[in-house]
Symmetry: C2
Subunit: 249 residues, 2 copies
């Protein structure tokens, strides 16, 4: 039995949700409400001591880190392969996924936190936020919550993150000049791992993402939006998000 602890089909939670849906694998869904700080609850910290979603449970093993979870799913369930057989294409898949994890996602994340966290924290009763902060396991996460809650990301930090989002889409465009999918001719985990990151860009950073600046990325997102597995994963969402230019997420 597969069990997935996840939030919405967004950001890192979407990565294993989409992977499981592509492979047609059944899984028990444990919804963790990040807006209610459930990821830092004593119950969930028993599952992932870092207090982060997603986390996969399979045959007694707890697997964390969305990119690693997807390689694990591929290792155990190679049917409907999402990892190219050609080692060089496989390396391209991993290089792209690493770039998303280390560069693109953190840049997006700062803008997401900046936009969402103050509203979440303002709804709390006086003093409650400090108690919730105290139970965040990772010091870096604690500091990020505090910074976002007090609107303390500087204009320079936000501008630099925005620049990095532009660099990421430029790099995506260059990759897609060479092949229809991000690791080559085959749809792979490189695409799976990128969908939720790219999906919000047309709405929030349309200057980087449009038919003129990034035609191949626009086409890639359109092809992704049409995939039954993407639709099935998005259908698991609880929160009503504003629709993007491409009509999803």
């Amino acid at each position: 039995m597969l069990e997935l602890y996840h939030y919405e089909p967004s950001a890192n939670s979407m990565k294993p949700m989409l992977c499981l849906k592509e492979k047609g694998l059944e899984f028990v869904s444990h919804y963790i409400d990040l807006h209610a700080f459930e990821q830092h609850s004593p119950e969930f910290v028993k599952v992932n001591p870092n207090g982060q979603v997603p986390a996969l449970i399979h045959e007694g093993a707890i697997i964390t880190e969305s990119t690693v979870i997807n390689e694990y799913i591929e290792d155990v369930f190679p049917q409907v392969p999402l990892r190219p057989g050609d080692p060089a294409a496989r390396a391209r898949m991993r290089i792209w996924s690493k770039f998303v994890d280390e560069y693109f996602c953190p840049a997006l994340s700062m803008h997401g936190w900046n936009a969402l966290i103050p509203g979440i924290v303002e709804r709390l009763k006086m003093g409650e936020f400090d108690k919730l902060l105290d139970r965040i396991p990772l010091q870096e996460q604690r500091e990020k919550w505090k910074t976002a809650a007090t609107r303390a990301f500087t204009p320079e930090q936000l501008a630099d993150s925005k620049r990095r989002i532009g660099v990421s889409i430029e790099r995506m465009e260059k990759v897609l000049e060479k092949s229809p999918w991000l690791a080559g001719d085959m749809y792979s985990l490189a695409d799976v791992n990128s969908y939720s990151m790219v999906a919000g860009v047309p709405r929030f950073f349309p200057e980087f993402f449009n038919d003129k600046a990034s035609p191949r990325s626009v086409d890639w997102l359109r092809r992704m939006d049409q995939r039954p597995a993407v639709k099935a994963a998005l259908a698991m969402g609880r929160v009503k998000w504003p629709t993007t230019a491409t009509g999803t997420n």
Copy 2:
């Protein structure tokens, strides 16, 4: 034929060097002198447009990113396996390697750059550094060079990086409480990818790395130092480094 572009057997260059030595694979060594800025030369940027070592060439494909290179080597040359067969152990190997890449290595790197770069830059002729800066492909790398050269890492940044090095060794210690190697009972890429990072810690941060604070990590490093492949990789070094507490690197 395998060709590896690398600097010393240190930091990220050591990772594929050690992997190749463990597997007994012959390779053509292309030494790139980072102190002479050869990684940003027009010739090398043709190999890796990011201007970073290591880079592996095999059957016409250029593979970059040391962690990905090692998975590639394992995919193509599974003899002398360095990736556990058990998928959960394999996930632990990847989670640990990801932690090294995203947390431990950047923390070490800031201290390394802070200690080494000013001396390298001071040896240059007036105006030469600006020209060298101009040809660095990645903006983030350019800024890191500029910051390090002008000794502009703040005491707060250096202290926080030091704290992270302590957190990394603590985490290593916890992992090694459960098993002799970093991904379990089997020596794996998790160990290969960590050696060059851990090897300098006893000398530069002995408060974190000693028989009392981190006995299991000390023992792990001692076992690593004794491996013939580690010795063979270290023997490829050109620069005479100060010896560590354990007598190597």
